[in-house]
């Protein structure tokens, strides 16, 4: 190898390193304000939760019939968004798509933060969280809820590994180059986490192999996490839930929600950290196309999910479908379908729309739509019980989330966003070594 090439490589690598480590070294007022805002909100949510803990679930809008409300809807929402880690890194990555390199880690951070919150929100939904251990002490192999606990836990661990393993070379770089630039505790953290990474060919060999195995493993695990989540509903006879396509319906819906979340995160990280050179319009274009693809598949499943029962109109189903199409949930349903599905597909077809800013707006629309879509999946079915609803208080017939409930839900979302924000500040959001490798730097050398 010639010296010129060597010097060239070194210069390229130094630039990449400096660019991508800059967000870690620099202090941003906007970022700090954002974190403080989130924490304030979370504190308020904790106050609301203390009221719920004290008085019980009666402070929520949930009653005997609608016993799953915003919390379970956000549980499904969190699991859905978390699935994007698998979509981007595993499905698209294993297909050999190179454009996902700067996006992959953002997706993994979102996945880890959201799947952790999925577990938390279940505890929030429990009237007696002190009895949480009973789930594990008195489990039943036959219970889909137990399967869900299993897959969520497994997914948390694999997501953590898939975030941590590709971070190792970057941690080695940070340990070598950030001493003095960051507080001592931070450097110590990087030093410990880097596991003595020096980038020998052997270490790279082990790393590549392990990541590859985990990427293959996460595909079935991620599919099962959301399929099992759908089974919590679909394994019952309730109209609106009693559907054979609920598994794929959830999975494809999750891909749409996750794509939206990644688009939003990409936009703000790119702007906030001035990473225009690394997350380019090309990446937004590609993500936009991926979003349209997933949304089209989801549209197909929506068609099946609603047209098939609506054509037959079995008595119980017809109650459910009329509630959604023309009844009390019609506004929410049509807004969700329009802004969470139809409009993003149509807009995403135009190249002009697949630019950063419009894509971010579409991403917000997708995420908000995805959340309300989960509410629509969970609540209207519960309103139509098969048992006669007689001699019960009026408020049992409907579900209106209370302020406390909404505050807690938003608080849990805020925690998820906070985790993503902290991870994105603590570690390089774009893998340095992978980008360098893409630009032709021989990374399997100790740099």
């Amino acid at each position: 190898m010639s010296d010129i090439k060597n010097i060239d490589q070194k210069a390229t690598f130094e630039k990449i390193r400096e660019d991508l480590l800059r967000p870690i070294k620099t202090r941003y007022w906007g970022y700090n304000a954002w974190i403080v805002g989130l924490i304030v909100f979370i504190v308020i949510a904790f106050w609301a939760y203390s009221i719920q803990l004290n008085k019980g679930l009666v402070v929520t809008g949930m009653r005997d019939y609608v016993s799953w409300g915003l919390y379970i809807a956000s549980f499904i929402f969190f699991v859905a968004v978390a699935l994007v880690g698998m979509l981007i890194s595993a499905v698209v990555g294993l297909l050999g798509q190179k454009w996902i390199i700067p996006v992959g880690r953002i997706a993994e951070m979102i996945a880890l933060a959201f799947v952790m919150m999925a577990g938390i929100v279940i505890v929030v939904d429990m009237g007696r969280p002190d009895r949480l251990l009973n789930v594990f002490l008195h489990f039943r192999f036959q219970s889909p809820i137990f399967w869900d606990v299993t897959v969520v836990t497994t997914y948390v661990v694999i997501s953590f590994l898939l975030l941590f393993l590709p971070l190792l070379p970057d941690l080695g770089i940070m340990r070598n180059h950030l001493k003095g630039d960051v507080p001592k505790w931070k450097w110590n953290l990087y030093n410990i986490l880097s596991l003595g990474w020096v980038g020998t060919p052997n270490q790279y060999k082990i790393l590549h192999k392990t990541i590859r195995v985990l990427l293959i493993l996460i595909v079935p695990v991620a599919l099962s996490i959301h399929t099992v989540t759908s089974w919590l509903s679909a394994l019952t006879l309730r109209s609106g839930w009693d559907s054979t396509i609920f598994g794929p319906y959830y999975v494809t819906g999750a891909f749409v929600a996750g794509s939206g979340a990644v688009l939003v995160a990409m936009y703000f990280i790119r702007r906030g950290y001035s990473l225009q050179e690394y997350i380019t319009e090309y990446h937004f274009d590609k993500m936009g196309k991926l979003m349209v693809l997933t949304a089209l598949v989801y549209l197909y499943f929506n068609l099946n999910e609603f047209l098939v029962p609506a054509f037959k109109m079995k008595t119980a189903d017809s109650h459910h479908i009329h509630t959604l199409f023309t009844g009390s949930y019609a506004t929410m349903f049509w807004l969700t379908q329009t802004f969470g599905l139809i409009l993003p597909i149509i807009l995403g077809l135009f190249k002009k729309m697949r630019k950063p800013f419009p894509m971010m707006l579409i991403g917000v629309s997708l995420v908000v739509g995805a959340f309300f879509k989960r509410v629509i999946i969970v609540v209207p079915t519960l309103i139509h019980a098969y048992l006669p609803m007689q001699n019960i208080p009026k408020e049992f017939h409907e579900y209106n989330p209370t302020g406390i409930e909404i505050t807690i839900t938003l608080g849990v979302i805020a925690i998820a966003v906070l985790i993503v924000s902290i991870l994105a500040k603590l570690f390089p959001v774009i893998p340095i070594w992978e980008v360098a490798h893409e630009k032709g730097v021989d990374i399997e050398k100790d740099l």
Binding site: F141, I158, L161, L165, V198, V221
Partner: protein, 307 residues
């Protein structure tokens, strides 16, 4: 204009109601049919046979026949046939042909094809027992010879029930006293014999006692019994407080299978179906083996660090 519509609407409504009323009253019975009289002798035998048919074919809609001057019953819609207005305004032929042709619009099905002429006349003769002023026709066929059956006038003290498992016969023997309080034979007394079932009693038959105060009825073979192989038989005498019931070993013993026995999806965790347990445990084991393998790889990377 508005009023015109109202008037037209009201008129059509009225016409509709009238046509409906018309349809309700018109059973299509000719004067000739109406003039017909009871075609079988008005005997106790025929009346009882008529009652049996009534209970099987008519009671489901018409419910109990109670002798009342005017039908004031709201439900069931099918009228109480013991109503004296009905009895006095209907001829024998009218009742017979109403049973025969039915009247779909008002809900009465035709029995002309499912019950024979004789059976339908028997129903008429039963219904006429509810009308004290009824004059049976004199030329209604031959009355069987012999003196009418004598009626028992004493008091039934008790009933002794027994079931012979070999002959499948239930025997009810009455213990009776006459008007003076001396032991007497209870002849021609109607005894109803039942078997207790889940939601009520199954009537095996209402039989008249013979000269020895004994009524015998056949018991169905292989009738489902309880889990101990027992059935409860009972006997009652009409217009008397005499009643007895008895548990006897008979019939097909019920073998109850507890749905919680064995491994099922709905059972407790210890009774998980084997396929589910194996699937769950093996999938979890494989996935977690890979995870632990990955964590071990982290250790390998760590052990390759520069010392």
């Amino acid at each position: 204009m508005k009023n015109t519509y109202k008037i037209i609407g009201l008129m059509s409504l009225g016409l509709l109601m009238m046509s409906h009323l018309q349809a309700q009253t018109d059973w299509g019975i000719t004067a000739e049919q109406k003039a017909e009289e009871l075609k079988i002798p008005f005997t106790e035998q025929n009346q009882e046979a008529g009652l049996a048919i009534f209970e099987k074919s008519c009671k489901a809609c018409h419910s109990k026949t109670e002798i009342v001057p005017k039908n004031q019953r709201q439900l069931p819609l099918a009228p109480n046939l013991g109503c004296q207005v009905f009895q006095s305004t209907h001829t024998d032929g009218e009742i017979f042909w109403k049973i025969t042709n039915g009247h779909i619009a008002s809900g009465m099905p035709p029995y002309g094809t499912s019950l024979s002429d004789d059976d339908r006349w028997k129903i008429v003769s039963y219904l006429r027992t509810l009308y004290a002023d009824y004059q049976p026709p004199t030329n209604a066929g031959e009355v069987p010879a012999g003196p009418p059956a004598e009626k028992f006038t004493g008091t039934i003290k008790s009933i002794a029930l027994s079931l012979d498992a070999q002959t499948h016969k239930i025997t009810a023997k009455l213990d009776a006293v006459d008007a003076e309080g001396n032991p007497a034979k209870a002849k021609n007394v109607k005894v109803s014999i039942y078997i207790k079932r889940q939601f009520g009693s199954l009537l095996l038959g209402t039989i008249k006692t013979n000269d020895n105060s004994v009524a015998v009825v056949e018991c169905p073979v292989e009738i489902p019994a309880d889990t101990n192989g027992n059935i409860t038989i009972s006997a009652a005498v009409a217009n008397s407080s005499a009643y007895t019931s008895k548990e006897v070993k008979y019939g097909k013993k019920l073998v109850w299978k507890n749905p919680l026995d064995g491994n099922h999806l709905w059972a407790v965790s210890a009774k998980t179906p084997l396929w589910l347990k194996i699937t769950y445990l093996s999938v979890v084991l494989i996935v977690w083996l890979v995870i632990f393998w990955s964590i071990f790889q982290l250790y390998r990377i760590y052990s390759l660090r520069e010392r």
